[in-house]
Assembly symmetry: D2
Homo-oligomer: 166 residues x 4
């Protein structure tokens, strides 16, 4: 069993440029390269055929993510998710968490894809990976260098910043 | 008062290439750009005229770093340090910590400078920044995606990896 | 008078990611940074308020580009242009070229924006800049490491490659 | 037969960072990745077990490079070379050129390795590749966005810029 599982669901984090279509889209995950460059020595399992824009994520797909989370034998789980509805899936994961669950679940993503030179993806992954190791069981969001509890955070879409709910 | 202070002391993290000398050296810190790209919203104070290779760090310079740490009004402190003697300065910081100190001090650095395409610097900073917010007072090292307590970690120099002391 | 003028018209070359809209768009040209990093010592004038996707370039806009080219006091001109209709504007520039013109005009662009890590923009600019210095007066396209004469080249849109017309 | 041969001899262009030694050194050439990203469609043969700092290049090694050049069946040849003695090897190549040779030989290199974020390597390769296609037989140096004839160029080592000999 690996120590941490990373479930990728799509979103901006891993979008790559398709030069024929002139669009950012999902090709293959950059996570193996990111983890290699990061020199991370924690054993990590990658999981994730899902590759969708979180704006268009259906309830069914959200349920599938939740199922993957709670059926994971690893108890420390990072979910790479589109930022637009990350808070929704995180809240749902919190609702579905059983009382005696010992899963620590950290959602993160990126405002600028890893494939861009000035991306926030690697930084956010570093934040999430540390958070998932240090936090008690529960559901969290790591964005903008901060740690939020699911249900107590929203994305200010005008400026692309996650903030604590008042 | 900012929430976090980052003290840069030099080391591999911030080395830049000098094309005339053909060497990696210290020019100016890339931290402002890194923090901007990371979209970090935590208020951070940068401090650090020190820019030395940690292999050649003197006792006096180490003392100066310790003094800067404990004279900081910010209680969450990240120290960017060369990896070769990071554990030494961290242990010294732990020794000098007073019993009722409420400083959380996280040392980090990089095995590959930020100026290189495949650097681990941004990832490590993300790790350190999350660790400094979540950990209780004490002295820690964040490298390789892991969190170590000062005094319980060494750098395996053959492979460039930080490991827990048995 | 500078030796070379670069006229930017928009296109993929200089698109940057807008994290709020989640789209690649035109912000400000990266050419000053590209030229600095390239260590280019040729004096270059940059010109270019135009910033449009070449798929949506109107006849009027194409005429404006042609006017800028032939009213330039610099005789060596690089035009950064979207790849989708680059051949059209280049052909038009060739038609409008007066018999005794001593302008050498090289069109180039990029299939992947400079802002992406695996962009072809810098390479293409290097190609164009050498071509504009070595070629006799005329209108040319530099893409895919090759030099084509305007009117004798098309873009194979299925694979995103410029080829000589049979 | 490929259209162009690229002979790599080492030098700054292809140096990569060795995190254990903390030095830039030769690992494996980045040219296959550079050529892929450049979307270059010209058939190119890569040749080059030589990987040395041009400051320490011996006469014997210089002779070996010259031999490789003139024994090449490709007549368009790019030589990736350290900038410190590039002009010397280029002059030697010019001396050894037979009168009826139809080789076009372009030397280039980099002041900042490709592995660094702000490298000039890709730009210089684009320049060299266009120059080798457009220039008549002879020996040339492409650096700083300019084309120089071998024997009429020197490197101003104080500022790291190639200039025409007065």
């Amino acid at each position: 069993m690996a120590e941490i599982k990373i479930i990728t669901t799509g979103g901006t984090f891993d979008k790559q440029y398709n030069p024929i279509e002139g669009q950012l889209t999902f090709v293959e995950s950059a996570l193996p390269k990111i983890l290699k460059d990061s020199r991370c020595t924690t054993e990590i399992t990658l999981e994730g055929p899902l590759a969708i824009d979180s704006l268009f994520m259906s309830d069914k797909e959200r349920d599938e993510i939740i199922n993957r989370i709670y059926s994971s034998i690893e108890k420390k789980i990072i979910v790479i998710h589109g930022t637009d509805t990350m808070t929704i899936t995180a809240e749902l994961a919190k609702e579905k968490m059983s009382l005696n669950s010992n899963h620590t679940i950290v959602f993160t993503g990126a405002m600028v894809p890893y494939s861009l030179k000035d991306s926030d993806a690697v930084y956010n992954l570093g934040c999430a990976q540390t958070a998932v190791q240090l936090l008690p069981p529960g559901v969290y969001i790591c964005m903008n260098g901060k740690v939020f509890e699911a249900g107590k955070v929203y994305k200010d879409k005008k400026i692309g910043i996650f903030k604590e709910t008042n």
